[in-house]
Symmetry: C2
Subunit: 161 residues, 2 copies
């Protein structure tokens, strides 16, 4: 799919079919994350791939708006390193890349931000000194909702504020 | 260009040709930013487009690793709203979208993170209570460097850390 069409056509997906995400597709999603830019190319991210249904259900219990993680065939926990000043910003670029690479293959996802991070870190064995940025569920969309954005001319300033 | 090829092929560009970025292309870049996901769809971002050479030169003086902003035909300042908790994360997705939409049209860019933000905010008239996330220069690459990433198998964990 053309990159621009992918970017403006992507929607957050919160309902998934049961179909598995093939390993090759998951690998392309992770590759896309790997190639994100980062300050001084520090790449302060690591990814945990989670297929286990009971683990996904446990995580879902600690995601206020992310109960649908339990229904996804796979999720990727994005873990960043706070010893790098820009770890959240860099990690966010990696997540957006993954989300777009998935959409390019007809696979949906959604950024889960509200997590009980201490609980989910314990479930996944993530070291205390690392930050859990998000757990991204991936799967084929069972439903694609509509979305809106502010008009471009209300958020653009010409030459200065 | 296929979205995956765009994502893994994108490189940060720090040297630009003099050619202008056509208005239609700049608009597509901004559109891509506009369609980024954000927590509760708050879209806590506004964009300032900057073509004025003297403004770009002034900004460049306050960007430690971004002197090449002065040579870009256009830059986009990305301003976020700290009253939204996730403004930097959301803004980072918008920036990555813009960077990819540009690359899809053969236009390069580079995240400029080290800025004297108070000085640049004053130059651009950005209100105190807003955050200047980055100033992204955009232009046709005069030089495309190579880059590397950590091997995928060194950053992936299977099921748990």
């Amino acid at each position: 799919m053309d990159a621009f069409d992918c970017i403006v056509g992507r929607r957050s997906i919160r309902a998934f079919k049961e179909d598995e995400v093939p390993d090759d597709n998951l690998k392309k999603i992770l590759e896309a994350g790997r190639w994100a830019p980062s300050a001084m190319n520090k790449q302060p991210w690591e990814f945990i791939t989670i297929h286990d249904e009971s683990t996904l259900s446990e995580i879902a219990e600690h995601a206020r708006y992310g109960s649908f993680i339990a229904e996804a065939p796979v999720a990727v926990a994005v873990v960043t390193d706070p010893s790098t000043k820009w770890h959240e910003i860099d990690g966010s670029g990696a997540v957006e890349n993954m989300s777009l690479a998935a959409w390019n293959m007809g696979i949906g996802s959604c950024w889960i931000g509200s997590l009980d991070r201490e609980k989910v870190k314990a479930i996944l064995g993530i070291p205390n000194e690392r930050h859990l940025l998000t757990v991204m569920p991936f799967g084929y969309p069972a439903k694609v909702g509509s979305s809106t954005r502010k008009d471009l001319d209300t958020i653009i300033h010409d030459e200065s504020w």
